[in-house]
């Protein structure tokens, strides 16, 4: 499905070069459910941006279904079956939930697309004509982002911290939603998350820290590393510079 080969990505911050993704290689398989986790600032969102084409790597290759998509635009990646739900969803003045869902759903009927709103716990009737602007609460915006992304029914979908800002009651449902999506899509789902309950439903866990993949494997293999607590040392080190 998706293969990252030796991906590196550097940004310039205050005139200094900062390598935020370092030589990352990863292989994601069809029909599998991945969870990417790791410390804040580790490079998870950046990796998702590299996959969806929002940023381009300095070196390395990205293959999608065997095809080299390293230089492919965001648009073409989207059309070829890559979807990405942002960690911080974007607001638009004058564009409605319906506009986004129908755009995402393609030739799906609006009624079917509305079903995705219900899945994320929003009453379609109340929200479908709302503008995706500053009047939406953080949690509402986040759910709309998830619903819009799911409506695309892509081969590969990356959700960046979908649980952030979602209340506890809805969180339980959200987990079921991802489970169902997984059953239905037969595609590859990648969730970036810090939540143990989401980690629990992963087929495979990917640990990213300091711009590197530090471990991949089953929950049993990766969790001990997370619980060992050496991230705290890491942040103290940073303070000492």
């Amino acid at each position: 499905m998706l293969e990252l080969q030796n991906i590196s990505y550097t940004v310039t911050d205050d005139g200094k070069n900062k390598e935020i993704i370092r030589d990352v290689s990863l292989k994601l398989e069809d029909d599998k459910f991945y969870v990417i986790t790791g410390p804040n600032g580790g490079g998870k969102s950046t990796l998702a941006r590299l996959i969806s084409g929002i940023v381009k790597p300095d070196s390395g290759k990205i293959l999608f279904d065997g095809k080299d998509i390293t230089d492919m635009s965001i648009t073409d990646r989207a059309r070829n079956g890559i979807s990405f739900a942002f960690q911080q969803p974007v607001r638009f003045k004058g564009i409605t939930v319906k506009d986004l869902i129908t755009l995402a759903a393609g030739d799906m009927s609006t009624a079917d697309a509305c079903a995705y709103l219900s899945e994320v716990g929003l009453c379609a009737r109340d929200y479908i004509n709302r503008e995706v602007n500053a009047s939406l609460s953080g949690g509402e915006l986040k759910r709309i982002e998830i619903a819009v992304t799911m409506a695309r029914s892509s081969k590969l979908t990356v959700f960046d911290e979908p649980e952030a800002g979602i209340d506890l009651w809805s969180f339980n449902n959200l987990i079921k939603v991802f489970d169902r999506l997984h059953d239905k899509l037969h595609g590859c789902i990648v969730i970036i998350s810090h939540q143990e309950r989401i980690i629990n439903i992963a087929d495979e866990l990917i640990l990213i820290a300091g711009g590197r993949v530090t471990k991949t494997g089953s929950k049993e293999e990766v969790m001990p590393l997370i619980n060992s607590g050496n991230w705290a040392v890491d942040s103290c080190d940073k303070l000492n510079i």
Partner: protein, 308 residues
Amino acid sequence: MNNMDNIQKRLLEEVADLHEIPEGAYNIRSNGEGAGRRSTEHIEITTKTDKPGIDIHIKDNTVRESVHIPVIISQTGLTESVYNDFFIGENCDVTIIAGCGIHNCGTQKSEHDGIHTFLVGKNSRVRYVEKHYGEGDGRGEVVLNPQTIVHLAENSYLEMDTVQIKGVDSTIRTTRGDVADNATLIVKEKIMTHGTQHAETDFIVDLNGVNSGTHLVSRSVAKENSTQMFRSNIRGNNACNGHSECDAIIMDNGKVAAVPELEANCVDASLIHEAAIGKIAGEQLTKLMSLGLTEEEAVEMIVNGFLK
């Protein structure tokens, strides 16, 4: 209306959504002349005797009625100033649809300056809709300089919606208002300029009454080499609420300047101005592109939504 040609009919459709003779009172002005008029039991339209234009008298207690007063110009080189005065009685609830469409395929300037004065009686509600549209393949300029003067009596309300999306080379829109006790003036304008067009907006509102209020909202897009200027001055002369908002997207070499002024002349006046000018946010484009749109399609969707 029957003796209008196709250009005139299309202009009428653009500015007033009119396909046929409207319901209620109307006055159609075409190439500087009257092209049809109807007064009704409650709304009387008469021709001014001292200058070009009409007086529209709306009787007390007129509710759910409308007046259409479109102006169309298809003759190149026509320049006119027209005065339309609305005398709206008490306890009314009416909709007024004005608009000006110019088709200029000649080389001379066509200009229409409409001066609209509203005297709104106590407890009345007015919705005033105005649409400006220009077209033509000639090199003649299309110029529209509308002036709107609103006097709001106690407890009255006027909402003005103006739209200018296409084809007007130069426009200076002037709006003046004075607002009495418990009255409210709302103005919403939408402007898009392109090419080398220039649009200026100039509001001055005096909030004179206790509990008077105003809300001025301008949304605009300046594309290519076009320029826009937004000026507003809200003067709070009593316990009142004033709010103005200028929200503009600039593209290509478009330029927008906003000069907001607030003047609180009473300690209980509460006045706010918000202005945001900038290009389309990069993350808005990437979001829509990640849903499969090209960059151009994404820009179009954002601009259309913004001006909707």
